[in-house]
């Protein structure tokens, strides 16, 4: 049976389709709203704000600005040391031996373990590597390590009296050591399998290859950046 549509039904259908078309168009406007909004702000800004909108006298202004930016870049480059320096990442346990912007050598290292060692009598030590800019203050060949109390406590050994012969260790620091101040050293190690892991007491440990290069390239006063 064919049921004929009444005029009111067809009008309703038409109005519904109008509403949906309108909503679809509104959605399209709405999704592109932010870009329209940005244009509105750009166009209307001079009318609403004081007269500090962007204007320029001539193309020369651009040229002056470009030259100024180049000057700023040049001034910024001047902060990079010309002599070799060392960048140490404690996050990756990696070193970058650099000269200017160029990397001379990169390789693994070991940095502070962030262990807090607690002993009897409320004594405690934190084994962290300091961060910031440092300078090479001393360069040592065949360094001897004076072992502090924590070195014995950490190994479960009895702490000997000060200046006892067992406090002096001539093997632990490797062939070279470079001091960056406050008792922190860049040195070698006997435990090469742990290089690349954060296991030290705050010093920077290097494998022989890296240690030789660092010792050779870094002068007294050379910068060491640790982050």
């Amino acid at each position: 049976m064919y049921h004929k549509r009444t005029p009111s039904q067809s009008t309703k259908g038409l109005y519904f389709s109008a509403f949906f078309t309108g909503m679809a168009l509104a959605y399209f406007i709405f999704t592109s709203g932010p870009s329209i909004g940005a244009y509105v702000i750009r166009l209307s800004a001079p009318f609403f704000t004081k007269s500090d909108s962007i204007s320029a006298s001539s193309v020369k202004t651009d040229e002056i600005l470009v030259k100024k930016i180049q000057g700023l870049k040049y001034r910024h480059q001047k902060y990079t040391p010309k002599i070799p320096y060392l960048v140490i990442s404690t996050s990756d346990n990696h070193i970058y031996l650099k000269k200017g912007p160029k990397v001379i050598h990169e390789g693994p290292c070991s940095s502070g373990s962030y262990v807090v060692l607690k002993a009897d009598g409320d004594r405690e030590w934190i084994f962290s590597t300091p961060r910031g800019a440092f300078k090479i203050q001393m360069k040592l060949k065949e360094p001897v390590w004076y072992m502090p109390d924590w070195a014995f406590i950490e190994e479960g050994r009895v702490v000997p009296p000060p200046n006892a012969p067992e406090r002096y260790n001539s093997k632990a620091l490797g062939k070279y050591a470079l001091s960056i101040g406050s008792g922190y050293l860049i040195h070698g190690t006997l435990y090469t399998r742990l290089i690349g892991q954060p296991v030290t007491h705050g010093c920077i440990r290097l494998a022989d290859q890296e240690l030789n290069l660092v010792y050779r390239h870094l002068r007294y006063g050379a910068k060491v950046y640790i982050y």
């Binding site: 509104a26 709405f30 800004a45 962007i54 600005l65 800019a133 892991q197 296991v199």
Partner: protein, 282 residues
């Protein structure tokens, strides 16, 4: 008489479709006009609320000097954009020079070149490639605002941070009783693998960053996702629409989401000191 009646009927039949067409357009135009007014009037309302009081930076004074020299000639929109980009770059490098005077690690974020640099005293410590980034609409609007350059003019200062990893991975160990106990300590000292790395940095002047490891941002943009009727019926899309309405309304929260490699994300978060400074180019 017959002719008159028939003519009247014809008129009424002609008038009905016309009314329907008028009604059709009227109904269609209501949501269109509403959307149009929303997207044009909200930015204007936001623009009128001009209560910024940013300190005047060297770049700002420089820009004002340029403006004061300006004669009647106005630049074309394309040149104006180029000129503004140059002013932003100028502000970025001036800020970087200011950061050189600091002894602590600072951050330079260059969204134009997709680079993040960790620096100390002007020396680059780490160069990180940004894999992808997203700027919220408030910041996009604000980029067009005349006060944008003063906002960008001085380095930003870190005020707060939160992360899925610890800033300092401290392990507390009690002194072993004997060398045998000590030998077992090494396993405790070695670091465990960090979870998924993401962190937020909140700077002054309402600038906020969300960093996460990965290849791309995991959250899709609701505006770019098409609407399906099944979604509407299930109510999923209404939520995303509501959030996008909120997103489009200009606010003073300027957020940038950045995706980096896992190593870069970890290095940046752990290297930044409290009150770290930032130079931004976008």
């Amino acid at each position: 008489m017959k002719n008159r009646i028939s003519r009247k009927n014809i008129y009424s039949q002609d008038a009905a479709p016309k009314t329907q067409i008028h009604g059709f357009f009227a109904i269609m135009l209501i949501p269109v006009l509403a959307a149009f007014l929303w997207v044009t009037l909200t930015p204007l309302y936001w623009l009128l609320q001009e209560d910024y009081s940013y300190p005047e930076s060297p770049s700002e004074s420089n820009r004002m000097a340029h403006s004061s020299k300006a004669k009647t000639l106005q630049l074309s929109p394309a040149d104006q954009k180029l000129y503004k980009n140059l002013l932003i770059e100028n502000a970025y490098w001036e800020n970087k020079l200011l950061l050189c005077k600091d002894d602590s690690v600072s951050l330079s974020i260059d969204l134009v070149d997709s680079l993040i640099n960790l620096e100390i005293q002007g020396v680059m410590l780490r160069k990180c490639k940004i894999k992808s980034y997203e700027i919220n609409w408030s910041l996009k609007y604000f980029r067009e605002h005349p006060k944008f350059l003063s906002w960008l003019g001085l380095p930003f200062i870190l005020q707060n941070d939160s992360a899925s990893i610890t800033k300092v991975p401290v392990k507390v160990i009690h002194a072993p009783k004997n060398p045998i106990d000590a030998a077992q300590l090494l396993a405790k000292i070695l670091p465990k693998d960090d979870p998924f790395i993401e962190f937020e940095l909140e700077f002054n002047r309402n600038l906020r960053f969300h960093f996460q490891q990965g290849d791309s941002l995991s959250v899709p943009d609701p505006a770019e996702t098409p609407i399906y009727y099944s979604d509407i019926l299930s109510g999923n899309k209404f939520e995303s629409l509501a959030s996008s309405v909120k997103e489009y309304y200009p606010s003073r929260n300027y957020q940038i989401n950045i995706v980096l490699s896992r190593e870069d994300a970890r290095a940046i978060y752990r290297a930044l000191p409290s009150a770290a400074k930032l130079a931004l180019r976008l």
